[in-house]
Every structure is written in C-alpha cells, then in structure tokens.
C-alpha cells in the first residue's frame, strides 16, 4: 500500500535500515579486531542506497533467493537486506595473523555511521512533526 505519508517517509526509512545494518557490520569488525584470519567488511552505502531506492538487488527482485525449508539450512548469499552488498575492506597495513581490521578506520566509520543514523532519525522526526502540524487545525 502506498500512502502519501509512506512515500514521504520511504527514503529515510530505507536509509535508516541500511545504516542499522552497516552499524552491525562495523560492530562485527570491531569485535573481531583480535581474531586471526578475520577479514574486515563493509558496505558501499551510496551504491546500496541507490540500489534499494531503485528496487533492485537482494530479495526485493534482482537476484533470486533459495528457498529454506528447514531452520538449519544455510541461506544463499550473505543475507544482507535488499541492495546492500557486503564487501571486504582493502587493508592499509597487513598483519601477520591475516586479520585486516584497522581499529582507527573501523571506529571512525562506526562513529560516522552513528551520526548519520541520528541524522536520519532527526529528518523523520521533523517530517512527523510537519505532518502533525498540518493535521491540527489551529
């Protein structure tokens, strides 16, 4: 169902979903900063958002998902939300144990993503406030 209010909020809702997903990916990177052979990952936010807005990618169309008939089945693909494609981070300084997490990069990205998430929340809040103002007859 497409309601005018839905379309109004759709952009920021999708952005918020992607940001929450990215926050989880970055938290995994920070948690595995000392795990041997762990490879840091991230999503290209701009490309992902464009794909999501175009309605491509993931389970929304684009690629086909395999049916999972038992809870222990492995999902096909990385299970990312529609449009978000996980990629491995290019390492700046290689370490002997095969770990590619650079704590500075990850923490900066985590802080940046948190601010962007808050910005999306602020936008949504402001939109809701506008709608409420329009609904009230004062």
């Amino acid at each position: 169902m497409t309601h005018p209010i839905d379309t109004e909020l759709a952009f920021h809702q999708r952005a918020l979903n992607l940001q929450a997903y990215r926050q989880q990916v970055l938290a995994s990177n920070i948690a595995n900063a000392d795990t041997p052979h762990y490879k840091a990952r991230d999503i290209d936010f701009k490309a992902s958002l464009q794909e999501v807005l175009a309605g491509k990618g993931g389970s929304a169309g684009g690629q086909l998902d395999l049916a999972r008939t038992a809870p222990r089945h492995f999902p096909a693909g990385d299970g990312a939300p529609a449009g978000a494609r996980l990629m491995y981070r290019r390492e700046t300084q290689s370490s002997v144990d095969g770990n590619t997490v650079d704590m500075d990069v990850e923490r900066a990205a985590f802080a940046e993503n948190a601010v962007r998430y808050e910005a999306s929340l602020t936008f949504i809040n402001q939109m809701l406030r506008n709608i409420r103002a329009a609904l009230q007859n004062q």
């Binding site: 990916v25 938290a27 995994s28 041997p36 996980l86 929340l121 809040n125």
Partner: protein, 139 residues
C-alpha cells in the same frame, strides 16, 4: 532488528576479551611458580579467538559475526633456567626450571586486551543511544 545484534556482537567480544584478561592474569600471577599442580613449572597460557555468527543474526546471517574463545593453548617455550643451588627444586647442576612466562609480553597483551574491551563497551553505548533515540521516534 540489526541494532539489537550489535549488543550480541559486542557482548561476545567482551566475554572473549575478559577470558583473555583472565588467562594473562594467571600468567602474571604464576610468573614465579616453580611447581604447578602436575609438579612441573607453570607454562604460559594463551586464549585462541575465532569468529562466530551470533544467534540473533538469523535475518542477516552473513554480517553479524561475534567472537568466541575456541581454546586455551599452553606455551611450548622451554622453561627459564635460573641458577639457584639452594632452592629445593634445583637440579644436579644447581639450575631451577622457572615458568616460561614473559612478563613484558603479558603486560603488552594486557594493554591490548583492555583497549579492545573499552572499544566494545563504546560500541555498546553507541548502539544503546541510537536504540533509545529510535524508540523515541515521533514523540
């Protein structure tokens, strides 16, 4: 909810890092233990980390990766031989086999573990703030 998985991920990292702190605390405490429970000198222990998908990540299984301690390995380094003929544990040449704990290495390890712990606490705090703001949406 992706954001709730952050708590699982950071929580698993906190558990793993505290296990690492535990191991190195016992290494430091036993740096001079000539005999352990098996009669041989104490040998340094290290925890081994491995990446593990968190349970709450069923919706996006590829991305929610926590940490788990998959084992504790004992150092294979030879014991430190100290010349002390008056020690009852000394051998015929007067040498005592001391634990192979490298105190400097353990201290560095401790700094690394505590920094990693702090980072993950920060991750949790950020996720908590974001969750609270999301819950207050539209108020």
């Amino acid at each position: 909810m992706s954001m709730l998985n952050v708590f699982n991920i950071a929580g698993s990292a906190l558990t793993a890092q505290s296990a690492r702190l535990n191991a190195l605390a016992s290494n430091l405490a036993n740096a001079d233990s000539v005999a352990g429970p098996d009669g041989r000198p104490y040998s340094a222990r290290q925890v081994v980390f491995a990446a593990r998908p968190v349970e709450g990540g069923a919706m996006h299984p590829g991305s929610a990766v926590g940490v788990r301690v998959i084992g504790v390995v004992e150092s294979a380094a030879p014991p430190r031989m100290v010349h002390d003929p008056r020690n009852p544990a000394a051998n015929e040449q007067g040498y005592v086999a001391m634990p192979n704990v490298n105190v400097v290495e353990e201290m560095v390890n401790m700094i690394s573990a505590s920094r990693a712990y702090q980072s993950n606490v920060e991750v949790m705090n950020t996720a908590k703030t974001l969750m609270q703001k999301t819950l207050a949406l539209g108020q």
